[in-house]
């Protein structure tokens, strides 16, 4: 039998460990990654000419980052590695790639989607101003370009990344004006039993808050964002919010990093026609998979944060599991069992995180009419409400068709979850009834010049 053609999409923690397992089994997978270098987002590698030490870039995760990078470096001769390459569509057993303007359709027998995550964002009035970034974007600026997003930065939102990126900014010498967490402090105590599933990760989180405290950064809990102040000309000028006490406060700043934990990048799973199910814990639609990463489509596997947000450590385990499951080679059953139970621990920890840093669903319907909801298309919350009133649209794709919410470059990856919450609240239906925006190719913008001269 011919060697199975294996394609791994993504060279972050799950993709790297999946590739490692394939190579160990004597296979030569194709690894396709959008990044210029491997590592994915959380373990993003700095450009070649940068020389900052691991400890400085990755903090407590330096050892894991270095181990992952060294693993990938060791695999390079044994895999078909395609960096800076976008998988823009999947059809009939082929992935369609674009690298600059070179296009290719590559057949596969097994496809491992290790597509990672992006920020889960809750719009705030004024978030379209220059200087408003996602937490992930703020982190990329620091890791990849060694620059801060502003002179004086407010971190606003919730989730572990809020504290991680804020403390990374502090350590890099940037001025952090405040960390404004929408989650009440008490939520963390309630989540403690689940968070104890991963004591070391929990401890790292505590250490981050210490870093912030030592640097004298103001940290507030239970805040409700009101607006990012500023104007189109000069960009962000400050933030206005209700403190936990209910008092309205403002803080001057020239940049805001915002986000509420992460959301999986599921469009490729959608284009591969995987079945999705609503996950009540995170209020998101996620591709279905079994414990070993098998999707509903034969030959398509899902691993890492691209399937469900369980964190980078879990991604390494689930990447390896997804690769081992159906290679057709003898596998160590003991290892499979221990990997599964490892992922189970991360899942418990992730439930704890969801309790400690809840998605502030009610902020979406509270957006004022003049707040931009969809940044790509400039659609306001009021525009969407008007469309609902005039047309009766209550389904995500229908509301998109009439209002253009989610119709722009990002295809709703940044506004779609908030839009669904707004529609659900306005219509008085559960958010799962609003459905999910269908994934449409190309998953990222595709040059019309694609394939020219080929």
């Amino acid at each position: 039998m011919a060697e199975p053609r294996i394609i791994i999409v993504g060279a972050g923690p799950s993709g790297t460990r999946a590739a490692e397992a394939c190579v160990a089994a004597g296979l030569r997978p194709i690894v396709i990654d959008e990044g210029r270098r491997d590592g994915g987002q959380i373990y993003r590698r700095q450009p070649d000419n940068f020389t900052r030490p691991y400890r400085k870039l990755y903090g407590t995760e330096a050892g894991r980052a270095q181990a992952l990078h060294e693993t990938f470096d060791g695999l390079k001769g044994a895999i078909d590695y395609r960096p800076e390459t976008l998988v823009w569509n999947i059809a009939k057993g082929h992935v369609w790639t674009a690298s600059a303007t070179v296009q290719e359709a590559i057949p596969f027998d097994a496809l491992l989607l290790c597509t990672g995550a992006t920020d889960r964002l809750m719009p705030v009035k004024g978030w379209q101003f220059a200087g408003a970034y996602s937490l992930g974007g703020a982190q990329v600026a620091l890791k990849s370009q060694a620059v801060s997003i502003g002179h004086r930065v407010v971190f606003m939102g919730s989730g572990p990344l809020l504290y991680l990126v804020a403390s990374q900014y502090v350590e890099a010498g940037a001025e952090v004006a405040a960390v404004l967490d929408t989650s009440p402090f008490g939520a963390r105590l309630k989540a403690l039993p689940d968070l104890l599933a991963m004591p070391s990760v929990l401890w790292n989180g505590v250490a981050l808050t210490r870093t912030l405290k030592r640097a004298g950064v103001m940290v507030q809990h239970g805040v409700t964002p009101v607006e990012i102040m500023g104007d189109a000309e000069s960009g962000v000028g400050g933030v206005r919010f209700f403190a936990g006490s209910g008092r309205e406060e403002t803080i001057a700043c020239d940049a805001v990093a915002m986000g509420h934990h992460l959301r999986p990048e599921t469009q490729l799973a959608d284009l591969a026609r995987c079945a999705f199910a609503f996950d009540p814990g995170t209020r998101q639609w996620l591709p279905e998979r079994d414990d070993d990463g098998r999707s509903s489509v034969a030959g398509v596997y899902l691993a890492g944060d691209g399937a469900k947000i369980l964190g980078a450590r879990s991604a390494e385990a689930s990447g390896r599991l997804a690769a081992l499951g159906d290679l057709g080679l003898p596998v160590d059953k003991g290892e499979m069992t221990s990997l599964r139970s490892e992922v189970g621990q991360y899942a418990r920890f992730a439930r704890g995180l969801a309790k400690a840093f809840p998605w502030p669903a009610r902020q979406a319907p509270a957006l004022p009419d003049d707040a931009i909801l969809c940044r790509c298309e400039g659609v306001t919350a009021g525009d969407l409400r008007a469309v609902m009133r005039e047309t009766g649209a209550q389904e995500a794709n229908r509301a998109k068709a009439f209002s253009r919410v989610g119709m722009g470059r990002c295809q709703g990856r940044y506004c779609g979850l908030a839009a669904a919450e707004l529609i659900a609240a306005e219509a008085g239906v559960p958010v799962e009834q609003v459905g999910r925006l269908r994934g449409q190719a190309p998953v990222k913008p595709l040059p019309i010049a694609i394939g020219d001269g080929q």
Binding site: R409, P445, D452
Partner: protein, 377 residues
């Protein structure tokens, strides 16, 4: 108990929605039944060409009727369907010079039907439309054609019909239609029944399922267009643009909306799946479309597409729709199978079908659309 009305329309696309609106104009009570949501397939996913140029000469009176409705659409519908009478230009390539003669002949015949076309070539063409590539030889310009937004059009007609009293049921899949005595009994999948002495089938690619129940099967084939859209760029291209070519793969067209995005269409139409209610764009068709766009307008090669889509269209072998009365059953009418060319004439079809049902006839030539042309023997 059946819900009763004068007319039942099965199929809530542009044809059914506009027919419902115009039937209300004749004070006829109407119930419109739609499997999914109004205007979601062929009517909502097409290119949005409001183009008379290039249609069969026999179809121009119907197209003229439609253009009059498009022009007053804002007042008629109380909504903006982004109709722009910003022109349509159809060009041919240097390797097919014989098509210039076809364009000239068409222009002469079209003028007799009230459609004035201007033939352009050389500097005259490039001065007016500087975006054309060197392969383009000549063009036929129709200043009174244009484009509109298909996502908004059929729902706007349906909403206007509803405001005038039409009863519209979405998410109502019809599984059976029969004539019992003087009435049609139409049954939905969930068991609801609807009753009326007149039945109009405007069910697009699904039309054959109903016409077959009345002994009139048609050889309809479901396919899907390949649509793409670019990121927004400054608004500069006014007319809808298309290529005249006998080769389906070379077919390509584009238009820029006032917000700046450029909508692209063309290349070999893909398969579509009426049973699953889905149509997918085949990636190789997107590739071929982008190649043809670069040939037609090379400067568009600097842009990115941000989304592709398709929808379910019903095609008949002669590319003409089935339109008019049934040959087997009195009180039964059809308007489906528009073969990827129904958007512009849609409102004219609705008005004409309403006229036929209300008055028993129309001045519009209906002979080419007879369902009987597919009858065996």
């Amino acid at each position: 108990m059946s819900a009763a009305s004068d007319v039942i329309i099965v199929g809530g696309g542009l044809m059914g929605s506009s027919a419902a609106l115009f039937l209300r104009g004749h004070s006829i009570s109407v119930t419109l039944l739609e499997t999914d949501l109004i205007g979601r397939q062929a009517s909502g996913t097409n290119f949005g060409n409001v183009r008379r140029q290039g249609r069969g000469i026999h179809q121009l009176p119907l197209a003229n009727r439609a253009i009059a409705i498009w022009r007053k659409s804002r007042e008629l519908l109380g909504a903006d369907v982004e109709y722009l009478q910003s022109g349509h230009i159809r060009v041919c390539y240097r390797e097919r010079p014989e098509l210039v003669g076809s364009m000239e002949e068409y222009a002469t015949q079209a003028r007799a039907e009230g459609l004035d076309l201007e033939l352009l070539s050389g500097n005259a063409l490039r001065d007016k439309f500087p975006f054309f590539g060197p392969d383009v030889l000549a063009g036929s310009y129709s200043p009174t054609d244009g484009h509109a937004n298909p996502r908004l059009a059929a729902p706007a007609f349906a909403l206007a019909a509803r405001k005038l009293g039409a009863v519209i049921h979405e998410n109502t899949k019809i599984v059976d239609a029969q004539k019992i005595g003087e009435d049609f009994i139409v049954t939905a999948a969930d068991g609801r029944t609807f009753r009326a002495p007149t039945l109009l089938v405007t069910a697009g690619a699904w039309g054959n399922a109903l016409s077959s129940q009345f002994g009139e099967p048609v050889p309809i084939v479901p396919r899907g267009p390949n649509m793409s859209v670019t990121e927004p760029v400054p608004y500069a291209i006014l007319p809808a643009v298309g290529v005249m070519t006998p080769i389906e793969e070379e077919t390509v067209y584009f238009r820029q909306v006032a917000r700046g995005n450029i909508v692209l269409g063309g290349s070999t139409r893909g398969p579509s799946f009426p049973d699953q209610y889905r149509a997918y764009v085949e990636p190789q068709n997107t590739m071929s479309q982008l190649q043809q766009i670069r040939r037609l307008a090379p400067s568009l090669g600097k842009l990115n597409i941000i989304r592709v889509w398709s929808g379910i269209e019903g095609y008949l072998p002669d590319s003409q729709p089935v339109m008019g009365p049934s040959a087997t059953t009195s009180g039964l009418y059809y308007a489906f199978g528009f073969s990827g060319s129904g958007f512009q004439i849609g409102p004219g079809v609705g008005e004409t079908m309403a006229e036929i049902i209300a008055k028993g006839g129309t001045d519009i030539l209906m002979e080419p659309y007879r369902i009987g042309r597919f009858a065996a023997g």
